[in-house]
Point group: C2
Chain length 257, copies 2
């Protein structure tokens, strides 16, 4: 251990960062609702007692995350939390703009199947009832005939949370949003698909409640596989350098096949 480590580098905090953090907290805590207009940059500057430049760069940072959106000469309005931050990060850093659906879907499958397995292994009583409740809510919405996208997501997110790994849960949530965005054009959930999805969900639910790790993983695999078949994967597959074979997408887990 070096002695120099005793003296930790002290650095003047970035004012714009502090401002951004305050505003972000206000948004995620619901003090500022989506659609609301932020005070003008000048007013924020005087309120925070910093220069307008700092407020400005803070707002730019928040806009990067998609938390707010500023319209020239009109003001900046709150947008709410979303995954545009990850999108930007992927496109800016990895040079991966517009990830093919096959790639995102495959990654999600890996994460969700393992989340289901972990949930079967670790879910508390409380977790289990929450999962079951979201499943029931999903069923009611489907019976009513309405679109049930958000209820579907809620079910998956409940499982992810029950996995006990918050980072895994966060990634799953982000990827789910991404999948929804990518599949919106494909107008999924047609015909009898919702009913099928409910049955597949039920299999996952029962396996988790029973604490059957392998069954949970298999049930989730089946569910996501049949979801994939909804979208025209053949049309995407060549974008991934021809190396992602359609056949390969089904079995990235379990010796089962």
């Amino acid at each position: 251990m070096e002695k120099t480590n005793l003296f930790k580098a002290v650095r003047t905090p970035d004012l714009s960062d502090l401002v951004a953090r305050q505003i972000r907290t206000l948004v995620v805590d619901g003090k500022l609702l989506p659609g609301e207009k932020l005070p003008s940059e000048r007013e924020l500057a005087s309120r925070f007692e910093v220069g307008r430049g700092h407020v400005r760069s803070a707002i730019q940072k928040l806009e990067f995350y998609g938390l707010v959106k500023t319209y020239p000469q009109r003001g900046t309005i709150v947008e709410g939390v979303s995954n545009v931050g990850l999108r930007r990060l992927c496109s800016d850093m990895l040079g991966l703009e517009e990830m093919p659906l096959a790639v995102v879907s495959e990654l999600r499958k890996i994460l969700e199947v393992n989340a289901a397995r972990l949930a079967a292994q670790r879910a508390s009583q409380e977790d289990a009832t929450r999962i079951r409740r979201t499943w029931e809510a999903h069923g009611h919405k489907v019976e009513a005939g309405g679109p049930a996208m958000s209820e579907d997501s809620a079910f998956h997110n409940a499982i992810a949370k029950a996995s006990g790994n918050p980072m895994l849960a966060a990634f799953i949530q982000i990827l789910s949003e991404e999948i929804i965005n990518l599949t919106i054009d494909y107008d999924a959930c047609r015909d009898s698909r919702p009913a099928e999805a409910m049955k597949e969900h039920e299999a996952v639910l029962l396996a988790i409640e029973a604490g059957d790790v392998a069954a949970a993983g298999q049930a989730m695999t089946r569910h996501l596989d049949s979801s994939d078949q909804q979208y025209g994967f053949e049309s995407i597959v060549d974008e991934v350098k021809g190396r992602v074979s359609v056949a390969g997408l089904g079995v990235q887990l379990q010796g089962s096949e």
Copy 2:
């Protein structure tokens, strides 16, 4: 389909974004090496023919990603690609600051094991030789007795790349860096650990070369499990609400055991 969709929204491109993109390209393409100093903001401004403010915000964005670092009154120097972008994103958006090592490690295991399986399934001849070469380089470094952290990472990254899923590869790389950062304090790789790691790596390598999906996954599982035992996991486990049991960390994949 709505008619309004025919007219796609056209928006004046953000100048700072274009500048940032150019600089980023220069860095990732190796035209600008880490340690080099960027031209001054004023010179960049006149070269790009934009206002200094745009150059300024572009540099701020790049600094957010950790691609460059600017020292007041001295200039901004190139840092290179890293994972600080995702770190910031996690802490700023998900509120996940300072993830426990157990959580990150578990997620990495999920990703890496499946990457190994996909690699065994899809690796081209070229991929296979690249993996073998990194393994050999790692071996030479270990024999020489020096620290072989980066060679170790190179081996894992080569496998991740061979998975054919660039997003999966990117996440693995990011998490690997995170693990390294978190374990730097634990001073890992002590005693005979490097030799063991080489043998475990060899098992993964052979399985991939043989195209044996199940064996690749199992070998990678074994490797990461024994890596985990290096660090004092018991001391971390309670940070995750007591729900992440040590026993559970070993088997999140395969019905094996």
